[in-house]
């Protein structure tokens, strides 16, 4: 059914592109849902490089990632050598890490969810709860503009009162082909703190993908983390044991 739904929506989207002047009733909620589905797919396999940049050093890591649905993610580091084999498994907002050096699976306790993931500008929470954006926020479409033949939607997302989100609001910029171009994190005083921006959009596996995403902190201009997607396949067949602790410990793929 989601597959059907997706193609239906892309059909609709195509209609909008064709006739942008028609009074459009695009639900902000749907836009966000579509954007998340676009980069996660029903399932996906990807290879990416994460570049962590600081004023006086820079390092990069290559890793492989698998996702399924909204809640399951597995990431494994390929390079550099000293980090190779490190894995992170995320299931329903919980997170486990595995390091071959100590041969232990460690559950990331809630006290460490606010800390950064592998030294990057993403917190553990950022990456383990990527799909919170869909249902933990109230989305409103606040602007719509045309750029390079694309319709660009700007959505303001205010977290629900009791949701476990610290931001005052997030602003999402989504292109009409469901690419999330920018995600801004604002504090509760209306000050912009972090942004995640797509600086390159490519068609990969038949789908437009933000292939270079940069997370940067406004208060520290020299520090950023960039995620460069090298390869991505959507809706791949994954083994049933992909997202299990035993697979995290003993890779079988």
């Amino acid at each position: 059914m989601p597959e059907l739904y997706r193609s239906f929506v892309s059909l609709l989207a195509a209609a909008f592109i064709a006739a942008p002047s028609v009074g459009q009733e695009v639900s902000a909620q749907d836009l966000v849902r579509q954007a998340v589905d676009n980069y996660r797919g029903l399932s996906s396999y990807s290879e990416m490089t994460m570049v962590i940049h600081r004023p006086d050093w820079e390092r990069s890591m290559t890793m492989r990632g698998w996702t399924q649905g909204d809640d399951n993610t597995l990431v494994r580091v390929l390079e550099p050598k000293k980090d190779a084999g490190n894995g992170t498994l995320m299931l329903d907002g919980n997170m486990w890490t595995y390091s071959p050096k100590i041969n232990r699976v460690i559950k990331v306790p809630s006290s460490m969810m606010g800390q950064n993931w592998m030294g990057s500008d993403f917190s553990n929470k950022d990456i383990s709860k990527t799909t919170d954006i869909i249902d933990q926020y109230e989305h409103t479409l606040i602007a719509q503009r045309q750029e390079q033949g694309h319709e660009i939607y700007t959505i303001q997302s205010v977290p629900h009162e009791d949701s476990a989100i610290v931001w005052g609001k997030e602003v999402l910029v989504i292109r009409d082909d469901w690419v999330l171009i920018e995600q801004q994190f604002w504090d509760q005083d209306g000050v912009l703190l972090k942004t995640m921006k797509a600086s390159e959009i490519k068609v990969m596996s038949g789908r437009p993908v933000a292939s270079v995403l940069r997370m940067s902190k406004i208060e520290k201009p020299g520090e950023w983390t960039e995620l460069r997607t090298l390869e991505i396949d959507f809706d791949v067949q994954l083994q049933g044991n992909m997202f299990t602790l035993s697979n995290l410990r003993n890779p079988r793929q």
Binding site: S111, V166, L193
Partner: protein, 410 residues
């Protein structure tokens, strides 16, 4: 016999005022010594009281009940049921004046800019204020309204560290009994100031039911804190609770919960005595010197009295009575001055210029001297017993004078 002692007493009194300047100086010395003994012990007692009371406020309560493993691992797993049956009944009996059931787990609080480890207290606000452990100085906003209150109350220092303020949302994170992440957003409804900024950083108050829901622990709680308002009397009623709570729970008085506090209290009494003796030793040199001089000046006179048939025992008596007069007058004056000065300072001595140092000892920047009758009694006893002992030497020497030699002494 009585008549001779009366004569001795009169003689001693007159001798005292023969050299009134010297007498006044030694009186001033004794007065000052006695005052310092009482005043310093009152100050120390005030300090210790303060530390103990501060400690009990955050402990809180004088007796706490936990699941047996809770104190070793204060996690949500080691919880207990709400008190019922005998236990509940014991909590309602005198001398217990208040008790509170609380959830108390380690948690992380995050704002947009920072996150910190805290102790999350899920409390019933009315029980908490009866217990005296609710923050008494709310600088902004309000305290929680009930167990269902969704808001949180945090310390001023914590708010500053998180760069957040009243009315903003923060996120609380902890774990549920299955070790899964349990979190929720909550709005800051109140900001409190504690006597110690350390407390402000650690304790975050939230409604008990709201916290139980977040932690998915049902109706379970972490601890029951009980108070009877007098921390010194805890041993008398703590066994009742112990018996009523049953074997499944760990019931401990504050002396066992915080051994540092209790040993401090024990050390305090011994320390006061040591301090008094030390002050007296310094004092005794002045006293003995005065008496030796008084005897030395009156060698011929004492020789005459002995020659006329006065018993050596009465000579000893004379010197001792003279010493007793001095000590008595000094004690009276010292006690009165100490009493008056402590009363005058009862509202606290502001020592905020060294506040940071005091804070490290978990003390507030205002000292409250605490006058104890037993301290006054103890200083009086120390001064009289040791004072007379010190006077024995000059008295003994005077009584052993050879009358002939003494009379011919020029």
């Amino acid at each position: 016999m009585n008549a001779s002692w009366l004569v001795v007493a009169t003689l001693a009194w007159r001798n005292l005022w023969r050299n009134y300047r010297r007498t006044l100086i030694i009186l001033a010395t004794i007065t000052l010594g006695v005052w310092s003994m009482i005043f310093m012990s009152a100050l120390m007692r005030g300090m210790v009281d303060e530390i103990v009371r501060n400690g009990l406020e955050t402990l809180p309560g004088e007796v706490q009940v936990h699941a047996p493993a809770y104190r070793r691992d204060p996690s949500v797993v080691n919880s207990m049921a709400m008190p019922d049956g005998d236990f509940l009944q014991a909590l309602g009996e005198s001398p217990v004046v208040a008790w509170a059931a609380r959830v108390r787990v380690p948690a992380v609080i995050s704002s947009e800019r920072d996150s910190r480890g805290v102790v999350l207290l899920g409390v019933d606000p009315s029980a908490e204020s009866a217990l005296g452990s609710a923050p008494d100085n709310l600088v902004e906003g309000r305290f929680l309204l009930g167990v269902d209150d969704k808001g949180v109350v945090i310390g001023a220092s914590l708010a500053k560290r998180l760069e957040t303020s009243l009315g903003k949302r923060i996120v609380l994170m902890s774990q549920n009994p299955d070790n899964d992440v349990a979190d929720r957003g909550a709005r800051i409804v109140g900001i409190y100031k504690a006597r110690l900024p350390g407390t402000e950083d650690i304790y975050v108050y939230a409604g008990r039911a709201a916290t139980q829901k977040m932690l998915a622990m049902g109706e379970q709680i972490s601890e029951v804190a009980v108070t009877a308002d007098d921390y010194r009397a805890v041993q008398s009623w703590y066994p009742n609770i112990l018996e009523a709570a049953g074997d499944e729970l760990e019931v401990l008085p504050w002396t066992a919960l915080d051994t540092f506090l209790s040993s401090m209290l024990a050390v305090q009494d011994g320390f006061a005595l040591v301090f008094m003796v030390v002050v007296f030793l310094a004092l005794s040199f002045g006293l003995v010197n005065t008496l030796v001089m008084a005897v030395f000046e009156r060698v011929r006179e004492i020789g005459l009295m002995l020659a006329l048939g006065m018993k050596p025992a009465l000579i000893i008596g004379q010197v001792l009575v003279e010493s007793l007069y001095l000590l008595g007058l000094g004690l009276a004056a010292g006690n009165i001055i100490a009493y008056v000065s402590i009363r005058a300072l009862e509202n606290g001595i502001d020592i905020s210029s060294v506040a940071q140092g005091m804070e490290m000892m978990s003390m507030s920047p205002v000292l409250y001297p605490a006058l104890r009758f037993s301290d006054m009694l103890m200083s009086t006893a120390v001064v009289i017993v040791l004072g007379l002992a010190a006077s024995l030497l000059p008295a003994w020497k005077a009584s052993r004078l050879d009358p002939v030699k003494a009379l011919t002494k020029t």
